[in-house]
């Protein structure tokens, strides 16, 4: 049984990244993720080959990531919502050049400068693009400090495996909370990257890291090829948790801190005899469409619990193909939906569906 350490979420991400063989980090201070940057500032200079740089902006940081990623090495940047907006062009370039990299977003209230309390309102940005052009990020949504560590470790592996950038989409609560963590084992995750720029040593043709293809036929081809890889990711890398779904008559869909609160709400509702379960996406791209579609055959309705004005709910609706009603239970601006609110919204749904029979 690996030893557990009490750690803050932001720091657990950083430590897990180091243990995944990531020795390059570029970041910029922004609340509520600065502890991650500070942790890297302390650790990396003491590690052989470790590179920490506080970049001049989030834009520079993502471009430094692009540079390291071009050489085939593991590299990470982190920020929070407004900073992630700045990185979007760089992320599109990384995706368009088929480079592996890990980007961490510890979300805060928005839009604009917003607030420093947690949110999940960058869901669209993370899963529907954010940057320009056709591309996807692999997006992982931790719901505990343990998952902050485990999913960071996984993010590097998936990014390398599919030559695709991966995002850890956390929220401010996850970043700030402290829980015991069993840290992942060190691993070196070496896969061959013959495409990387490392210097030809006059032994091979030059490699070019690029996303510019002026010929539309060629650019179209790169898009279709990339989407074949995305299809493989959708086939193989969906992750979610089924919580009390076996006999569930109503299904809550929630990730991150919302899922934690939802579990408490379910405990309460179950005591009252209401059979509610939770599908907790651990990847929001690829979204657990099949799980939700399967649930739609059994349950009478869905509640999407979010710290936003309703973003994931659209994916829930698409996945369940209009079979059942889907309602939103939400807070915004940094507020977190409470147990009572989730219970109340679910009961309202039940009333709607069952005509007040309960």
């Amino acid at each position: 049984m690996p030893e557990k350490v009490l750690m803050k979420g932001n720091e657990a991400i950083a430590e897990a990244a180091l243990r995944a063989g990531c020795k390059h980090y570029f970041g910029y201070p922004i609340t509520p993720q600065t502890e991650l940057t500070a942790y890297m500032a302390k650790k990396l200079p003491k590690m052989e080959g470790g590179v920490f740089l506080q970049a001049e902006s989030e834009i520079s940081a993502i471009n430094m990531v692009y540079g390291v990623a071009s050489t085939g090495k593991r590299v990470m940047t982190s920020s929070s919502s407004p900073g992630i907006s700045l990185k979007q062009e760089g992320i599109s370039y990384i995706a368009g050049a088929d480079l592996p990299a890990v980007i961490v977003n510890v979300q805060r209230g928005g839009p604009g400068l917003g607030g420093i309390q947690p949110s999940q309102s960058d869901y669209f940005q993370a899963t529907k693009g954010g940057g320009h052009g056709d591309y996807h990020l692999i997006v992982l949504t931790p719901s505990s400090v343990q998952e902050m560590a485990d999913l960071t470790h996984l993010a590097f592996d998936l990014a390398d495996k599919y030559r695709c950038p991966a995002m850890l989409l956390a929220d401010g609560t996850m970043g700030q909370m402290m829980e015991p963590v069993a840290l992942p084992e060190e691993h070196l995750g070496g896969i061959e990257k013959p495409w990387a720029v490392t210097g030809t040593e006059m032994k091979r043709e030059h490699n070019i890291i690029n996303s510019l293809y002026l010929s539309p036929e060629v650019l179209e081809k790169t898009n279709f090829e990339r989407y074949q890889r995305y299809a493989q990711i959708e086939e193989n890398e969906v992750r979610y948790e089924n919580y009390m779904m076996d006999d569930a008559e109503y299904c809550i869909v929630a990730f991150g801190i919302a899922a934690r609160v939802a579990k408490n709400a379910i405990t309460l509702m179950r005591k009252e005899g209401l059979k509610v379960g939770l599908i907790r996406p651990i990847t929001v791209w690829p979204f657990p469409k099949k799980a939700i579609r399967a649930a739609a055959d059994k349950v009478k309705g869905f509640v999407s619990v979010e710290l936003s004005m309703g973003q994931m709910i659209e994916d829930v609706k698409l996945a369940e193909e209009c079979l059942r009603p889907v309602v939103l239970c939400n807070r915004a601006g940094g507020m977190i939906p409470g147990v009572d609110q989730i219970v109340s919204v679910t009961k309202d749904l039940v009333s709607c569906v069952e005509g007040g029979a309960r």
Binding site: H24, F26, V51, L53, A55, E56, S57, I59, S60, A61, N63, M64, V65, Y66, G67, V68, A69, S70, T71, K73, V75, E89, G90, Y93, A97, V197, T198, G199, T200, E201, M202, K203, H206, N207, I208, I209, N210, S211, L212
Partner: protein, 250 residues
């Protein structure tokens, strides 16, 4: 018969797409000559800009990375920090380096990143059809300053070498030109020195090359190079702005 002059080996066989008389071709050649003379092609990685030289990755036979507009110094920082034993250069125009990329330029300089930056200053945005650049001269007519650059509205041009030499960190900053043979040969020496500094681990080297854009200046190549002599060089004087190597030698 001995070869006195031939195309450098580290230029590929791909024909350059630049306009007739565009000095990009000369400057590419100077970079390639430096790479050849220093024997570093096998460990060099170049960073291409957004601008007319966007496809520079097709012209150099070393490994190349295409950067987002203005971000080449940041990409180069990532490359150099990842592979400190490799030689990293960026090749950037005036919009790339002094407009959208000004922060990246200044910060790479102030971190004294051990990279080589080749800055091509032709006072205009060539690729997009001739718009005003941060280095366009007062009164210069461009597509976005059709009545001449009005300093009251658009401010004054940025003198990059002068500005960067206010920083303590950079190792070597020189401004050169390629409008005649004498200047090309001086530029060749400066470019090679900028690469040699990196090999020796000295720090940040930037060569500003005062160049021309015959097409968007609306001139023949000959008149354009004359305009460099008459108008550009007086505004952007040639010379060494920083050379810590000279101080070290003392």
């Amino acid at each position: 018969m001995a070869i006195v002059f031939q195309k450098p080996k580290s230029l590929t066989s791909k024909e350059l797409h630049y306009c007739p008389g565009c000095p990009h071709g000369i400057i590419h050649r100077l970079v390639a000559e430096a790479i050849d003379n220093l024997g570093i092609e096998g460990r060099t990685i170049g960073v291409a800009p957004v601008g007319c030289a966007v496809m520079a990755y097709d012209y150099f036979s070393c490994d190349m990375v295409e950067a987002a507009h203005g971000r080449a110094p940041a990409v180069a920082t990532g490359l150099k920090r990842s592979l400190p034993g490799n030689i990293i250069f960026t090749y950037q125009g005036d919009g790339d380096l002094a407009s959208i990329g000004m922060a990246e330029t200044v910060h790479a300089a102030t971190r004294n990143e051990n990279i080589t930056i080749i800055f091509v200053n032709n006072a205009i945005y060539g690729m997009t059809g001739g718009q005003m650049a941060p280095t366009s001269l007062p009164g210069q007519v461009t597509q976005t300053s059709p009545y001449g650059r009005d300093v009251k509205v658009a401010g004054y041009p940025i003198k990059v070498c002068e500005m960067l030499s206010a920083l303590d960190a950079p190792y070597y900053i020189e401004r050169v030109a390629v409008n005649n043979v004498k200047n090309v040969l001086k530029a060749k020496k400066a470019v090679e020195k900028a690469f040699r500094n990196q090999i020796e681990g000295k720090g940040f080297s930037l060569i500003e090359v005062v160049s021309a854009c015959p097409t968007n200046w609306g001139m023949t190549p000959q008149k354009a190079l004359q305009w460099v002599e008459d108008k550009m060089i007086p505004y952007y004087p040639l010379g060494v702005f920083r050379d810590k190597g000279v101080e070290e030698a003392k």
